[in-house]
Symmetry: C2
Amino acid sequence: MGEETALHSLRREYAAMPPVAAMQVRVEGMEGGRLRLSAPLAANVNDKGTAFGGSLVSLMTLAGWGLVAMRLERAGVAAEVYVADSQVRYLAPLRSDLHASAALDEGQSWDEFLRTLAQRGRARVQLRAEVALPEGGVAATLSGRFVALAKEAPAPG
Amino acid sequence: MGEETALHSLRREYAAMPPVAAMQVRVEGMEGGRLRLSAPLAANVNDKGTAFGGSLVSLMTLAGWGLVAMRLERAGVAAEVYVADSQVRYLAPLRSDLHASAALDEGQSWDEFLRTLAQRGRARVQLRAEVALPEGGVAATLSGRFVALAKEAPAPG
């Protein structure tokens, strides 16, 4: 499946989740192996006029989840994707729209992930995500493990 | 300041944050040093009919943030509260409303936190939060550090 079709599926999946719709998440696209998402500050602002910490981590988690879901869809693999754990660092306040991206962490491989999933019906992959600051640098980073569980193939019949 | 007044302030602060209002967060109250929050599944559901990971971490982060904000307000200290980092583990899918609570982590002390804040204008505290499963056990846990920065007192005029 092509990238555009997988991005289209992802947009539909995000739109179907009420908390994601409330955040007004936009799928910006793929660029060099990174999935890019954005969300307006107005829908994600806290009491201090900066981006709400929960929205920062939600957007980074969604970017990671979406990257894995897209990779599976493009490989033609039917599997559910779950976030297993994450470490989040909040580094600087963000006073503008949220731009998050996610990519494979160092030493991780999609080929190995897909091979393990095909062999064992279950595989995990470590991703890194971040929210950029408009002036350069990052507002927050996330390092997280995502797990895919293969859906059972329907019995031939 | 009394607990009820501080809970009332907290409800007002949460309601003023659009992403928190969208999650329909409710302040349930304080119980044995724990701040309890809840949110309906319908506003926080993912593509699998279970609680969205971003909502789980948002609710746990809000419980921690709210606990620190209340403690400061009850002590009569004007300070901003920020989350600095967090480690989140997603342990089991949750198919019902979200109930989160936060409390001091082991070895942490409010007295020490308030004393440090008064002396240095800045202090941090480590909290633990969790989202309960209705059948017992937990759906997710968060361990996070929260930082308070004293607001400068107005110059005597």
